[in-house]
Every structure is written in C-alpha cells, then in structure tokens.
C-alpha cells in the first residue's frame, strides 16, 4: 500500500526533472546542430533537427581563422586572457592582504574602512559608469585595456569579505608563533597565509575569471578599438555583415562558450562547492 502510494509521486518528480533537463539542453542542441550545418541548409524553410546535407565545419573554420566584419573571435579570446588575468591575480593578492588585516590585525581605522566597504556593496553601479567614461578619458585610458585591468588590481570587495571569513578561522597561535620567529604581518601574509589559502584563492580566481570572461558592458563602454576587442564584444560584433549566416554565428557562440562549459562540466563538483560557499557568505 505504502509502496504504491510512493511510486506515482516519484514518477511525477522524475517527469518534471526530465522536462527541466530537456528545457536546459534543447537550446544547446539547436546551437550545436546549426553550427554544423551549411549556410544554405540553416536558411532553408524549416529548422532541420539533423543536418541532412551533411556536416560542415565551414562555420568553425571561419570563426577560428577568418576576420568576419573586422573581428576575429580567437584574438578576442586571447585579448580576454591577457587583459583580465593580470588584474584578477594582482587583485586577489591585494584582496587577500586586506582580508588578512581585517581578520587578524588591530588598527584604528579598521572599523571605519570595513563598514564603508560593506556599505558600498549595495550601491548601484549605474551611478558611476557614465562618469567613469569621463574619468578614464581624462587619464587617457579610453580604448586601452587599462579600465578593465587597473581597477581590478585594487581588489574586489566581495573577495575581501569571502577571504576574511576564511582567515577568521585561522588560529591566532599560528600568527603569534610566526611573530616570535621574527616575521612582521606582511611577512606572515606572504610566507604563511598565502600558502594556507591556495584553495580559497583558487575558488575566488575561478569566480572572478568566470565573470570577467563573460563581461560585456565593461569592454563595450571603455575598450572600443577593434584590435582590443575582448571575446564577448568580438562575439557581439562578429559577423555583423553576415547576420543571416547562422552556422557561422552559432559556431562563434559554441567556440566562446566551450572553454567555460567544458571546464565547468569537468570540475563541476569543485566549482559548485566554491560558488555555493561564497554565495552563502555574501548572503
């Protein structure tokens, strides 16, 4: 009796789960199928569920090796890497240092700075973006990678809070012992704390890199010269003149999404854990 009562309930859950998976996966399916079609087939009267004129890698070939509309996706990819990664790495080091100071040191203006940083998280950024354009222009930074690079080097407030939470769990004895050994706080951070926080730092790096990789409005506003296009801007402007060449455009989307998606699927356990952790701390 109990069994029969339980079974239909679970079946309902499984049907819903199957529907959810279908709704998530279906767009990816159309994306990949279209990217493998010939242009002629993609623009035929109906959507073809399977390429009937045979698979074509023309779209991928053009995406990787050609400039379409003056933009190349692959160079956008490399631009994204070299523009964002230095800023993120320096920023992580700086955020970690500030987090360590907030967690383990005593100084007069600690409460003041900390409460101000806390309150900035609620400020809407639409207020500053317009004037940032003026600021960066006056510094001569417009259409250079600096606006995407330098502000990140001052650390991210979210990372400071996240790492502070972690540093609070480090026992004071460890720091006192290092002090007895003659290390200053700066030395303690460089020689001891950084080594202890590789996991936290790596989690923060992944988070920051994912948001930088997918950043669109930043480069759109500040970095408008076509040889500096980041991946997302390149993708948005890519194939402008070839708007009806869907296999080409979809191949561009696949190429741009693939690195993060593959990385996510391969290390999803780790990524989801660190994402959930940082989310719960922010909350």
């Amino acid at each position: 009796m109990l069994n029969t009562k339980k079974k239909p309930k679970n079946i309902g859950s499984y049907i819903v789960m199957a529907l959810v998976v279908l709704v998530i996966v279906f767009p990816f399916y159309t994306l990949i199928m279209t990217s493998l079609m010939t242009e002629q087939e993609a623009n035929s009267a109906n959507f073809r569920w399977w390429p009937q004129m045979g698979f074509s890698l023309q779209g991928y070939h053009d995406v990787l090796f050609k400039e379409m509309g003056g933009v190349n996706i692959l160079s956008g990819f490399f631009n994204t890497l070299w523009i964002y990664i230095p800023g993120i790495l320096v920023g992580l080091y700086v955020s970690g240092m500030a987090a360590f100071a907030f967690a383990k040191m005593r100084f007069k203006i600690k409460g003041f700075i900390f409460s101000i940083l806390l309150s900035t998280m609620m400020l809407p950024n639409s207020m500053s973006t317009i004037a940032q354009v003026i600021l960066y222009d006056s510094l001569g930074w417009m259409n250079t990678p600096y606006p995407l690079m330098i502000p990140r080097m001052f650390g991210a407030i979210g990372s400071v809070f996240f790492m502070r939470q972690f540093y609070l769990t480090i026992p004071d004895d460890l720091i006192n012992a290092a002090k007895v050994d003659g290390l200053g706080f700066f030395g303690i951070y460089n020689h001891i704390i950084l080594k202890l926080s590789t996991n936290v730092m790596f989690a923060q790096f992944i988070l920051s890199f994912m948001s930088a990789y997918n950043d669109y409005l930043g480069p759109l506003l500040f970095c408008q010269s076509s040889n500096m296009y980041t991946l997302q801007v390149a993708l948005a402007f890519f194939a402008g003149p070839y708007a009806q060449n869907w296999p080409l455009r979809m191949a561009g989307v696949v190429v741009s999404m693939a690195p993060l998606l593959v990385f996510y699927i391969c290390s999803q356990k780790y990524i989801r854990k660190s994402l959930a952790l940082s989310a719960s701390i922010k909350g």
């Binding site: 700086v94 005593r106 639409s126 317009i130 004037a131 003026i134 997918n214 979809m250 999803q268 909350g283």
Partner: protein, 313 residues
C-alpha cells in the same frame, strides 16, 4: 636597586609593546587600504563627478567644456517622454524577478529532494549560468528566428503561423523574459544551499502531522530559507533594474519594436555615449543619479519589508 631595574624593565617592555602596537596600526592600515583607495578612485570619485556634471551641459568627453545650466538637466529628465517610456520598459523587465524567483524556488525544491538523479539535474540546470549573456542571447536569437527558427518550426507543425518574436511589439518583452528565465532562474545554487540547511527533523515532524508536500514547503522550507531568498530577491531586482545587455543584443543595438528595448540604463548609455554630441553627459548624469536614488529607495523599502517577513532562526 632591584625595584628600579624592574621598573626600568617594565617601562621598556611597555614602550616596546606600544611601538609594536603602533607598527601594527600602520601596517594594518597600509595592508587594508588598497580596496578602499580603489573604491574612492573608481567608484566614489566618478559618482561625485557625475553629480557635478549633472548640473552642467557637457557634450564632449573633456570636462573643460562643461557649461553650468543649473537644474536644466533635471527638468529635462522629469519632463522627457523617453524617460517615462524607459522607466515603463524597465518595470516591465522587472517582471522577470518574481517569475525567476518562483521558477528557481521550484527548481531548487526538486533538486533538493532525496531522489536519485537530482544532483545530475542540478549540474545541468546550472549550465546556463556559466554561459555569457552575449552567447545565450545570440543563441536565443536563432531559436526565436521568425523564418527558420526552431520555435516557429514547431509552431508550424501545429499549424500556427510564424511569430516574429523579437520584432513584434507584443511578443518582444515575453521573449526577453523567456531568455531571462532560462539564463537566470536556473541559477539555483544559493537557494539549493539554503534548502539543504533546513532542519530535516522539522520536515519529518510536519509529515507525521499529516502535512502535504506543498504545506511542508510553505510552512517549513520557506521560513527556513527566507534570509537567502531575500538576499537573492534583492540582488536579482537590483540587477534587473539595471539590465540592458539582453535587449541591446537581441535588437542589434537598437531601441526594439515600439521602443520596448529602451530601458533606463540603455537610455543613460544612449544619451551619454551614443548620442553624446546631441544629448551629452549632463542629462545622462542627471538621469543616472535619479535612477540610482530610485534603486536605493526600492532596496531600502525591501529591507524594511524584510524585517517583517524574513525570519532569522
């Protein structure tokens, strides 16, 4: 003699402590100051700058061309019909927030069930959150394509005439909301995490008392996750208020059918950057300040409301 020595020792020690304190004070300040400096330079300074600019006319990137106009820009913002339209469109897009909250609560609840395969569903469901707005929007542009797109093909099987999802005034916002649900409501990590922390024994007790699934969700799970739910709601709402990327991409940087893609953030961007020579930074800054104040009032109100609704433990 001995006493003197001890005294001497003590003062020395104390002054040693004091200098250590001072060193810690200076070191701590130096080590923690950089994020604060970054905030001052790249957030606070531009904010104040835009406040100043909002009282001026500035049709160039160079502030030396600034011309005092007093409250002229604010008058413009309050009387301009495009501002009105852009606020309406922004509110229409904010409809995505309650929809997304309900959908993601539903999804998170399913993924939190003690059933086989839920972790697989959770992994799949998070995939859109890893993708970029640009990629996702281009993908949906193809799905919504009026002639050869998948949805119109399926509608064709059912004998429905093709719909111009992105070009029709009435279909534009529903299409945008669909993309938003697919991309943003599937970000269930936080809610799922909160649901995992809900006391299992409470659920069991409710079950023994004869509560059905919905009652358990409403009476036990929902109060348990209310702090997280509140946090998610407010961050999603603030983000939705400032959304422009999806609509700009789907209309190829235009205003959309019936100007439906003209949100407040886009209008600010359009005045300040795209039409700088005609509208200028002054008007854009005035609107961005008004808009920021609106956003802050809304979040303040939500926080007030949360004191009544959210249960912390």
């Amino acid at each position: 003699m001995e006493e003197k020595a001890r005294l001497f020792d003590g003062t020395k020690k104390r002054s040693g402590m004091a200098s250590m304190r001072r060193r810690e004070d200076i070191q701590g300040t130096l080590m923690s100051i950089l994020p604060f400096v970054g905030f001052l330079a790249f957030s606070l300074y531009p904010m104040l700058l835009s406040l100043v600019v909002s009282f001026h006319e500035l049709k160039s990137y160079d502030i030396s061309y600034m011309k005092w106009v007093g409250l002229e820009n604010y008058k413009f913002v309050f009387t301009n019909k495009w501002v009105n339209i852009s606020f309406k469109n922004t509110i229409a897009y904010c409809l995505s927030v309650p929809i997304n909250i309900v959908v993601s609560l539903f999804l998170a609840n399913i993924c939190s069930k003690p059933l086989k395969g839920t972790s697989f569903v959770a992994v799949i469901a998070y995939m859109p959150s890893v993708c970029s707005t640009v990629g996702v929007t281009l993908m949906w542009q193809w799905i919504f394509e009026p002639n050869y797109g998948v949805i119109n093909t399926i509608l064709g099987y059912l004998g429905v005439k093709p719909i111009n999802f992105m070009g029709d005034v009435d279909w534009f916002m529903p299409s945008v909301l669909t993309i938003s649900v697919w991309m943003k409501a599937t970000n269930i990590l936080q809610l799922q995490g909160a649901m995992a922390n809900v006391d299992q024994s409470l659920k069991e007790a409710a079950k023994i008392d004869g509560a059905n699934g919905f009652q358990i969700f409403y009476k036990v799970v929902l109060p348990g996750i209310s702090p997280t739910l509140f946090y998610v709601t407010i961050t999603w709402l603030v983000a939705a208020l400032q959304e422009m990327a999806i609509m700009q991409l789907i209309t190829n940087s235009g205003v959309g059918p019936g100007f439906k893609a003209m949100t407040v953030t886009y209008y600010i961007y359009r005045m300040g950057i795209q039409n700088n020579a005609i509208e200028g930074f002054g008007r854009a800054s005035a609107l961005s300040w008004i808009f920021a104040i609106v956003i802050m009032i809304i979040s303040k109100l939500l926080f007030k409301l949360s004191d009544k609704v959210v249960t912390y433990d």
